[in-house]
Amino acid sequence: MTDDLITIEVDGKPLQARKGQMLIQVTDKNDIYVPRFCYHHKLSVAANCRMCLVEVEKAPKPLPACATPVVDGMKAYTRSKLAVEAQKAVMEFLLINHPLDCPICDQGGECELQDLAMGYGRDVSRYQENKRVVKDKNIGPLVQTDMTRCIHCTRCVRFGDEIAGVRELGATGRGEHMEIGTYIEKSMVSEMSGNVIDICPVGALTSKPFRFSARSWEMVQKDSIAPHDSVGSNIHVHIKDDRVKRVVPSENETINEVWLSDRDRFSYEGLYSDDRLLSPMIKEDGAWKDVDWETALQYVTDRIQTVKKKTGADNIGALVSPAATLEELFLLQKFMRGIGCHNIDHRLRQRDFSDQDVAPIFPWLGQSIADIEKRDAVLLVGSNVRKEQPIINHRLRKATLRGCNVLVVNPVDYDFNFNIPVKIIVPPTDLPYTLAGILKAVAEQGGRKPDDADFIKLIERTNINDKHREIARKLSESKQGTVLLGNLAVAHPQFSTIRALAGAIAKLANITLGYLGESANSSGAWLAGALPHRKPAGQRSDKTGLNAFSMLEASLKAYVLLGIEPELDCWDGSKAMQAMKSAEFIVCMTAYHSEAIKSYAHVLLPIALFAETSGTYINNEGRSQSFNATVSPSGEARPAWKILRVLGNLFNLNGFNYNTSIEVRDEIQNLISNLVPGNEGRWEIPVSLPTGNGNLQRITDIPMNSIDPITRRAHALQQTMDVADGMVHVNALLARQLGLSAGSRVLVRQEECSVELPVMLDERVPERCVLVHAAQSCHASLGPSYGDITLNKV
């Protein structure tokens, strides 16, 4: 590589550079500022704004630094008379049409054009002509347009093309009539669309929910970690008057680079939803009343003690959100185990726990997030990664641009923003069988057999087809491949079988196995011990409690809920609802008081949400990231770790005398610091593969903006397409067979539950399958996420 190094001189300073780099990359690296609008280090070079003109020795005219490759011995001047004159001239051109109304522009105070106009603009304009006016476009609920302000840098266009992978914005017309827009009015549908707000150098694209609510200089910026998917994107929280005004990405090349998913960017609106619980409440004779913390906590203590005395600690269960902080998860399990109960779980959307004893210490990505882009073959199993973990999807997309084959086995034909060479779309019941086929094909091609005799027996009778072979070939040929299990795989009723088969494929093809976590602490919760069978750091628990599903099935006497709405967040909504309704005592540590929660809970304890509490998330790659509170909790709300600390003390449990959440974290870190992540582990190999029974089957997915309580209350996100729609999705063939058409109403039945819903034709759904979104109120009246379902026309 040293041959590539050359020396150039900028403003008289010698600098090291790599051959082929653009001049602006070298100056940026060395903190020499060159003004720019169109150049962005994550986008291709367009060189259309000319703001970066600099003087280069021997060149007859100024050259754009963003499009001038360095050569050995090059001498450039960024502040010479020629350079500055050129920069000033460009600024004058840009301002011919740009409105000079910064006081009423939302970008004012953080506008690249405003800043540079200060540095390079003249005081008076020499132009008298009218400025052009461009009609604003409605491009959806998240991004506000003010197209008269656009300076045609095309950053947003290139972002769509190169990063989001959906080319929706473009430059139509020409000359003075050129406009940036979608041409025909439509919303941007990208899970990353909010990033155009950051990259637009002017006030043409701004945040719709934030619009006109604060000025940049009135806000303070604090760092935090995004609370939704398992990526742990780094964020800046912008605060005014102790209120979160907006969230923007904070650059971290190893995680989110400079990007942020729309969910992570706009979910903060949920902090201030109307049903935010502001004070502890107790239900007395069916009526809710506000109480102080002391009363509430004493009441909780008494009631739990009563249940414990009467029916034993085993009759209590704790369900906790996988988006809770590490400290909360840890203290809740410490509390539960302290009172002699092992019924604690965060795996709310899982059904099959049969192999939990041989599961890895914590399920992780199997590689770093940044490494994903180096993969040459990826098998995605049961995953809509584009919506579920948008940042990981972005890395995958980058990998595909370098030639990686992403292969898919899914129960729904999801849309990807990159090319998928082979995909197999099968009903959920056929998923294990398909993996067995791929395993067999990998074995055949490699001339090897799985080590385990049980596997050999299992796949013996499997038929393989060309697609299996094709996938197997691509995986076997890969040098840096991986198998990734997504949210739908984890929720599958035969998850353990899927895990075993995926693991065997990975092992045989000599590639890694990884899990894509659903929530911020899907990995961390395992390490914190929020599990019925393992204590923190994966230590075996002497007693195994009930898992998330069994706790509901068992209809316990008391439940402790932390940060969840069980009827929306659990695998079987109606079972959750029944269990809640029949319990004697329910304490909800919750940020919200929904009608449902009020109908079954007995005590509500208001908790602080993500930007309001300190804590730690361990992301999918095993990286632990701690953060401080950025604003005070709303109303009387308290961080859940503090609530648990007090409860621990009220129960006279040992080891609950923490002063800060950092002390809690350090206690966990001590336990886990020596752990090495590994997914290789062991599996439970099933004796036979499940097959469909010919009945209609339900498939459930959770649209990205319905995933957790806070997102479900984020107003703008709820206006997007990515929310639970309360429809019954079937393909046209099935609709015809059942005599249904789009919009007709059907009675949907599962086990004892039924609900009437409208039909939507959806060709992504495979034959004999019915897709229903979860995490909405109609889900609460339906049954399991997977399994038999019947439809009757009404």
């Binding site: 093309d161 080319r167 929706e168 473009g170 139509t172 017309g173 020409r174 979608t182 041409y183």
Partner: protein
Amino acid sequence: MDNKLSEHAKEVIDQWLKIYPADQKRSAVLAALREVQHENNGFLTTDLMDAVADYLGLPKIAVYEVASFYSMFEIQPVGRHSISVCTNISCMLCGADEIVAYIEKKLGIKTGESTKDGRYYLKQEEECLAACCGGPMMMVDHKFYENLSPEKVDEVLDKLE
């Protein structure tokens, strides 16, 4: 969507596709739009542009960009016969402006408009049409008419159906 393109248009596009590398289908976009516009009485619709995008495997917006950039493409419905009077320097010096004024009066429309009966479209010509020695000149349905006078304009235009 493909069915929006006529068999003939597809044949023509396929012909063009042959001369470009298989992964550079976008190269055929100008030829494709030209053909489709020709078959559609001289203008493009969003549906037709979408059909071209699908046929060539391009994002729709990429086709809108091309069609809206080049003045040879009409993205609004226009009259059957397209009249472009050159008003660039040579022609202007030879009296192009009077010719434009004459045609506007004769047809009762302004430059950029079409007659109500859909017969004529008086296009705004952006550039020199490269017949400077014959100015003033106009192009009607792709044919050049030079050394124009009001009489000559009448003769040409009245013949058109």
